[in-house]
């Protein structure tokens, strides 16, 4: 019966989806973070109550139909009938009133619980939204400890991390479903949120507010490391770029500096200072490129450089028709930037 399976479908999918978390990386109901868990708990309550209400109403309507079919007389005469006000009092006021009150209390309780972490954050990450990529900055005690990367945020597992969200252009929204709900990023203000991952792993995220043509291709990843791995990652990222080790890589650096790349991108330690696009100092350490549009492989990197506008039309990255040799050495050089 169609309606029954529709009622069961959400529950079935939700249960299945937890197991298939890898298959649906942005699944709201697969919760890993501290805030995410509380929010999902509230969500389950709401979904279950909603399904129950819909079931009850559907049964009432169907039953009205069945009753009318079973009526002995076919008399369609108009009659005054009983008042029916108790139906409205119980079904329309008392029972919904109680259910909604419980919902409201649960809501406020959850709101309170997720408002702030229980202990001081282990790190503060500045996230700056751009059309259509995420700038990520860890500000240390000095410029030599500043980490600038893009589209990937590393956090130590089991510790709260503060996120300071700003935008360089339009409204975006920071959203990593498994860890926490959305926080919009509004021009002119800094919105703060916090995340805490309970388990190590890779958690997908995406921009949650329509921000223009490539809103669909503005993903990011949060990677929860063990605290030791996190510190090592921070140290590696803070270091300037590795010097080119072989002639191909050296040629790649030359291509980078002379083909216009340095106008938009920075590779710390090379003298380049472009601020329009992501910092590429440790690009090879990232798992994706183009804000999650492509896995980070040498082939994809080359494809992105020559044909960015066909992969992400409208983005600020131009399609650069480099000669084949230049392209290969550039990609080889970038691959050394771990």
């Amino acid at each position: 019966m169609p309606r029954l399976s529709r009622r069961l479908a959400p529950s079935a999918v939700a249960l299945g989806s937890c197991a298939l978390a890898g298959c649906t990386p942005l699944n709201v109901l697969a919760h890993d973070g501290v805030t995410g868990s509380r929010e999902t708990g509230l969500g389950w309550f709401l979904v279950i109550v909603s399904c129950a209400v819909v079931c009850i109403i559907t049964i009432l309507v169907l039953a009205a139909y069945v009753r009318s079919r079973k009526r002995r007389t076919r008399d369609d005469a108009v009659f005054a009938g009983r008042s029916g006000v108790p139906w409205v009092m119980w079904g329309g006021v008392v029972i919904p009133g109680i259910v909604l009150l419980v919902t409201f209390i649960f809501t406020i309780g959850t709101l309170d619980a997720v408002a702030a972490p229980t202990r001081a954050p282990a790190a503060t990450v500045k996230v700056i939204g751009h059309q259509w990529w995420w700038e990520v900055r860890y500000e240390g005690t000095g410029p030599s400890q500043t980490v600038v990367t893009a589209n990937e945020i590393h956090v130590p597992v089991g510790q709260p991390v503060r996120l300071e969200l700003t935008t360089s252009d339009v409204i975006h929204s920071f959203w990593v479903p498994a860890l926490a709900g959305k926080t919009d990023i509004i021009p002119g203000q800094t919105n703060t949120t916090w995340i805490e991952a309970r388990h190590t792993g890779v958690f997908g995220g995406t921009c949650g507010e329509y921000c223009g043509a490539q809103h669909a291709h503005m993903q990011m990843r949060v990677i929860a490391d063990s605290p030791g791995d996190f510190q090592k990652w921070l140290a590696d990222e803070a270091a300037p770029a590795a010097k080119p080790a072989d002639p191909t890589a050296a040629d790649g650096l030359r291509v980078f500096m002379t083909s216009g790349c340095a106008n938009c991108h920075t590779i710390r330690g090379t003298g380049s200072g472009g601020g329009v696009g992501p910092d590429l100092t440790h690009i090879a350490s990232r798992t994706t490129i183009a804000a999650g549009a492509l896995p980070n492989t040498q082939a994809n990197l080359m494809g992105w450089i020559v044909a960015a506008q066909s992969i992400k039309p409208g983005s600020d990255m131009p399609s650069l028709p480099l000669p084949s040799r230049d392209l290969q050495s550039l990609a080889a050089y970038l691959e050394t930037l771990r």
């Binding site: 929010e39 108009v78 029916g84 139906w87 079904g91 329309g92 909604l100 959305k182 002119g188």
Partner: protein, 643 residues
């Protein structure tokens, strides 16, 4: 004080000549007959429904599979924006205005709406603004920032073309139509009821449109202000929304949603009112808990002004303010629950007859509740942070919009077409229509709850295969196609019935309200004699006797076929707002070209402003002034009136 004395028979021919519009082009452009205007609204709204539906189907084709390339991102962005604004502005409210316009005077026992020329203006500006906004699509510069157009993405820096200028001006243009229409409904319900139709005898449909009209009067200016700011910032380098210069993007959001939330009640309360008319007819008994339903309509309208921030829960507002708006957004479910249980109780305590309108009403009840509960889900702030801006919200909005607007509208067509055209619609085709629409809709939109929970954001022109949303989107596309077939069957049924439908007679459903008193279609003058009303269901008094709701002992029964004639020119009664005591004999305006010409002048100004043709804008302005002066020039006397 004056008294009116009896005459022998109603001069039907004289009434006919007085009230009928002149034939030919003049009659077409100048008519102020509410029935003609109502029909025009209905037809034009259906055209926009189809246009918006086509836009949706094209988007569905793009989203069926991951990484599809049917549409460029720019084209997709224009389509989803046009789909939203077409449906929400140019279909959902005007179609209800169409029914209200047609039915209200018949239901209220009057000869016309309070301001017939304003009525004509509200239609012509609706049509003109629709032509204006679709010009944008025709030149490939349709609005492209979503129907709620968040700044600063809508400013010149990020959206340099004409797209958002069309948006700002088109919406201001439409708000003129809706505002003057709302003022017309308010004036009508206050002054143009049949003698004796006191507040507790008013049909719920009247309560619905009346509440929506008050809401429109107080909420539409927020949109006018926001759109004006947008136009000024884009054209005159002013600063309202850009943070660097002291503006704020959140100002746009506050203004827009202070308009936008009441608007969603404007587009459902009249439809719920229409349902409250159909349920008693098809359950063969008066509506259960009428006073509660009337009050819940008004309560929803009022509370609807206090929930707008729930569209902004993720913007970083203080917890206290979010708690308040979360609470208000949760509590607004109660008046709706009252109405839902009143309808269900009427079905249980009545003897339902399952004609096509009743099937759509039953489907509507289920869809209403699904939409309502998903609304409560989003009212819970911390969970809203997960589901806002995902397909979960898309599911919610379509369940409330299609469930609470489209389904009642289709039911209303089946219900009132016999009165409007004199022909019944086909029951067989109607049942096919219902099942395809109901199954198609649920198959198309229920899965969106799931794709939303699986993390699919709104307004994405494509998605990666790795996201795991492919199968849900495929099901949605199939469902949408079935739903589209259902809409097609509905349109076919309209045409079939116009040609071959059975003749309806005056009251084919044996309903109880006044609009079923006269022949179908009604004569131009509606009522040969002005009825005198003594109950809520005048046409059921014969069958219900003293149990008819709204009767006051000692006052006697309604007089529908005998009463005051009022045939010296276009006359009707002006009555008092609460008890509907007859106060004046009103002389209603004759047909006039000024509403049409005024709308044309406004269209000229709109084109002038959008294309920066200042001479045209000024010319239109001069035209508007001339039309207004011509319109207002004293010609009509209102006898017995005291200013």
């Amino acid at each position: 004080m004056a008294t009116l004395a009896p005459i022998a028979t109603a001069p039907v021919e004289r009434l006919h000549d007085t009230w009928e519009a002149r034939p030919g082009l003049y009659g077409i452009l100048a008519t102020v007959d509410h029935k003609t205007i109502g029909k025009r609204y209905l037809v034009t709204s259906l055209v926009f429904l189809v246009l918006g539906g086509i836009e949706a189907l094209i988007m569905r084709a793009q989203l069926t599979h991951a990484n599809a390339h049917l549409l460029s991102p720019g084209a997709y962005d224009q389509l989803f924006t046009m789909h939203g604004i077409t449906m929400i502005f140019w279909y959902a409210s005007p179609v209800l205005s169409g029914f209200s316009n047609y039915i209200w005077p018949l239901m209220l026992g009057s000869r016309d709406m309070a301001y017939p020329r304003v009525n004509a203006l509200s239609y012509w500006t609706f049509l003109a603004s629709g032509i204006f906004i679709y010009t944008a699509l025709c030149i490939g510069q349709a609005p492209n920032a979503g129907w709620f157009a968040y700044a600063p993405m809508t400013l010149r820096t990020f959206d340099p073309g004409l797209n958002m200028d069309f948006y700002a001006l088109g919406l201001i243009f439409l708000t003129v139509s809706t505002t003057v229409g709302a003022i017309n409904f308010i004036g009508t319900v206050m002054k143009m009821r049949a003698p004796g139709m006191s507040l507790n005898r008013l049909p719920i449909f009247v309560y619905g449109t009346m509440t929506a009209s008050f809401a429109a009067v107080f909420s539409l200016p927020a949109l006018t202000v926001a759109a004006t700011y947008l136009y000024f910032e884009r054209h005159f380098h002013m600063h309202f929304f850009d943070a660097a210069q002291g503006g704020s993007p959140l100002l746009w959001q506050h203004l827009f949603w202070m308009f936008g939330h009441p608007w969603v009640y404007i587009i459902v309360l009249p439809a719920m009112g229409m349902v409250s008319e159909m349920v008693p007819t098809f359950c063969r008994r008066p509506l259960v808990a009428y006073p509660y339903v009337a009050l819940s309509t008004i309560a929803t309208g009022i509370i609807g002004f206090g929930v707008w921030v729930h569209h902004m829960f993720a913007t970083g507002l203080p917890g206290v303010s979010m708690s308040f708006f979360s609470g208000a957004s949760i509590i607004i479910a109660i008046p709706s629950a009252i109405a839902v249980f009143a309808w269900i109780a009427t079905m249980w305590l009545g003897t339902p007859v399952w004609k096509t309108p009743m099937m759509f009403v039953a489907g509507f009840v289920v869809l209403f509740v699904i939409g309502g509960v998903s609304g409560v889900v989003t009212a819970a702030v911390p969970f809203d942070w997960q589901v806002t801006d995902t397909y979960f919200v898309v599911a919610h909005i379509h369940y409330v919009l299609i469930g609470i607007n489209v389904f009642p509208v289709v039911a209303a067509f089946y219900y009132w077409m016999p009165k409007i055209t004199g022909r019944m619609m086909s029951e067989t085709l109607g049942k096919w229509n219902f099942w395809t629409m109901f199954i198609g809709f649920n198959l198309g939109f229920f899965p969106m709850h799931i794709s939303g929970l699986l993390g699919m954001p709104r307004r994405v022109y494509t998605y990666p295969a790795s996201a795991g949303w492919g199968s849900v989107n495929l099901i949605t596309t199939i469902g949408s196609a079935i739903f589209a077939v259902g809409v097609l069957l509905f349109v076919i049924n309209i045409f079939v019935s116009l040609r071959r439908g059975a003749y309806a007679g005056s009251n084919p459903w044996d309903a109880g309200t006044l609009e079923w008193a006269m022949e179908s279609p009604p004569p131009p003058y509606n009522f040969a004699v002005i009825p005198i009303i003594r109950s809520r269901l005048p046409l059921w008094e014969d069958q219900l006797g003293d149990a008819t709701p709204g009767l006051i002992p000692g006052e006697g029964h309604s007089h529908v076929s005998e009463g005051v004639v009022l045939a010296e020119g276009r006359e009707t009664f002006g009555t008092s707002p609460l008890e509907a005591h007859p106060l004046h004999v009103l002389h209603m305006p004759e047909d006039s070209m000024f509403p049409f010409l005024l709308a044309v002048a406004m269209l000229g100004t709109a084109y002038g402003l959008v294309f920066s043709l200042w001479w045209l804008a000024i010319l239109g302005g001069v035209g508007m002034l001339a039309c207004l002066i011509g319109w207002l020039w004293p010609r009509h006397l209102v006898t017995g009136e005291r200013a």
